[in-house]
Symmetry: C2
Subunit: 379 residues, 2 copies
């Protein structure tokens, strides 16, 4: 048993940053009031909630009331897909083949069209162009992938959608563009106008905020069916007494991520290079999945031909290294990853693949330790 | 300005109990792992989550996998109503006229039949009997009302439903019985078999647990459509990385509520009597809404003819007393309460009504202070 512990599963979960937790604490205790109540103490909590909304909006470049707080990223994705599609009939939704399960499974309840990706995991724009027709109500393509870290050309996709929109007759079906930015939000530009999106999912649990916090950006004028009916909180889209602690924690976490983003991206890219190169050296037939340059700075995803990933992960765990076979979000079932399948990997290749995702506390020493252990285990 | 502060809105929100918050803390920090991950540290968190489920189940007298953790009571109510009704067509749902908005608004998306209540707020059982037909898929009737505190005869309703069920042909439409126990859970028996329910909503935010925590009890064999599609967490009904802190906090809060329940009910009934009697003395034409004996021990709801409740609430607030006009869940709109309307109160009577809900920290001194202030303001 090792005393060195290295957590390399930041795509699955991040700890709540100390300053985030500190910002949340008052709302469990002294400021526990229901923001919809009318006495001054409750109104003050309502102002803090609205302030959290404005803080998130400032980062997105949106208005405060375009930020709908949700209980996590999966819920936000479901609000986007079901919210747009449920009121319609005979319309279709276009998604990429490598979306998160919370987009894919929601979309499968409707007429869904799946855009393929190339072997790097980049969406095929020509195919996307062809798949969108006059009955397409929604396109949902993730900003960056949770398994292989590939970053999609969101601005290019948005331009295709704008062209399609302009070709539609006036007063016709609106064509909405949603992106799941759950994995992107630590590292990439989140300005919704620059990205050209109508809806965007953010997930607090992946950015050192609390789990089941997050939001869906919903551009003014976009009409959705609520995901939770009731008292009408969150602009009528997500009823229920607001989780002010989570909203404040999420806003705090997002601000912190954006503040350190520039330096953190650079730092992680250095560590990432070191880990990729070291890993490929340690096992010469190893292959990096995804792409080198359009990749989140914290993601390393490698296939080790001939190696059983489950066994390798157990061995790594015994030596203090926590990594993943794929998305933790569906780790409870044993099916090979749909993402790796979409890249053209065989089931056998998928079962020889390991994801290592770095984070805020990852050091060069950690990376060197991982490379030493990997070299030993793979020898 | 008074230095005496009395919080009388425990039906709207409760602070997180210190022991509950203490139980939650590790899951923000050192135990932040995604319960679906495979390394030992994450598996240990998954065991704690399963343990929280078992702790809740022990109180309900159910199996652990019949407890679906949700992000709050409104979500649980939506999962019950939409989960049961959405996959069907041409079927109906029966609800009482005084349900919480999260049941009513969800039910309104389907063929909904509304059972009236008598002037005390008790469901008309004969009317219920008549409304249920062979196309009724779901009956949802709350355990205790959030505005007037009236407790429904859940066991009697369950017997009606069992009889209706036995009259249906074999293999016909299942008839499900759901109860929203959000307000009941601090004070009443929660044993699902004794109650005879198929689904039951609990809300952590009303029992000194965290906001947007809670669960839906879903009896084995009941088939629902998920409220959040995705990775398949929570028995496939509520996808998304589990909020372990909230689940553990909710379990802790529920256990605490049940442990002190007997004494707390007795203590609050004494305070409640004192407050009701004092209030009626202070304003002789005042009228207690609901019923004296089938009432939650913490609820006092009074109409003061000729008094504008908004003005009274502001005056009370200035003197340190926080009370409510009705449900905080829809406090943001100005419509008169549908609950008071269902009791036969006029809009004017509704606008002269005040809800005071006691809680764990309410003392006799608080009640006496409130009575003194009320006597002065109403004079």
């Amino acid at each position: 048993m090792s005393t060195h512990r290295v957590y390399l599963d930041h795509a699955a979960a991040t700890p709540v940053a100390p300053e985030v937790l500190a910002a949340m604490q008052p709302f469990f205790g002294e400021l526990f009031y229901n923001p919809s109540a009318t006495y001054q103490a409750a109104r003050s909590v309502a102002r803090t909630l609205q302030d959290a909304r404005a803080r998130v909006a400032a980062i997105l470049g949106s208005r405060a009331n375009e930020v709908v707080f949700t209980a996590g990223g999966s819920e936000a994705n479901n609000l986007a897909v079901h919210g747009a599609m449920r009121p319609l009939s005979g319309k279709n939704v276009v998604v990429s083949a490598i979306e998160h399960d919370s987009v894919l499974e929601a979309a499968r309840r409707y007429d869904v069209r799946v855009v393929p990706v190339d072997k790097r995991g980049i969406v095929d724009l020509a195919a996307l162009d062809k798949l969108i027709d006059d009955d397409t109500a929604l396109v949902s393509i993730m900003y960056a992938n949770n398994e292989i870290g590939t970053i999609q050309p969101i601005r290019d996709i948005s331009q295709i959608i704008q062209r399609k929109r302009s070709e539609r007759s006036k007063g016709g079906l609106p064509l909405l563009f949603h992106t799941d930015a759950a994995q992107a939000s630590n590292y990439l530009d989140l300005h919704v106008a620059r990205l050209g999106v109508d809806m965007m999912t953010l997930n607090g649990g992946k950015i050192y905020g609390p789990k089941q916090s997050g939001c869906l950006f919903v551009k003014a004028g976009v009409i959705l069916q609520p995901i939770v009916d009731g008292g009408g909180q969150e602009m009528g889209l997500r009823s229920g007494t607001e989780n002010v602690a989570a909203a404040v924690g999420f806003a705090e976490a997002l601000e912190l991520a954006v503040t350190i983003r520039h330096d953190e991206v650079e730092r992680l890219q250095g560590l990432q290079r070191r880990l990729i190169d070291g890993t490929l050296r340690a096992y010469p037939s190893a292959r990096l999945n995804g792409t080198r340059n359009k990749r989140l700075p914290n993601n390393v995803h490698v296939t080790f031909p001939g190696i059983d990933n489950e066994r390798l992960l157990i061995q790594l765990d015994e030596l203090g290294i926590m990594a993943a076979a794929g998305s933790a979000c569906s780790a409870s079932d044993d099916e090979p990853s749909h993402v790796l399948g979409a890249l053209g990997l065989s089931d056998e290749q998928a079962r020889s693949s390991v994801r290592m995702t770095l984070g805020r506390t990852t050091t060069e020493q950690d990376v060197d330790y991982v490379m030493t252990v990997l070299a030993k285990l793979l020898a």
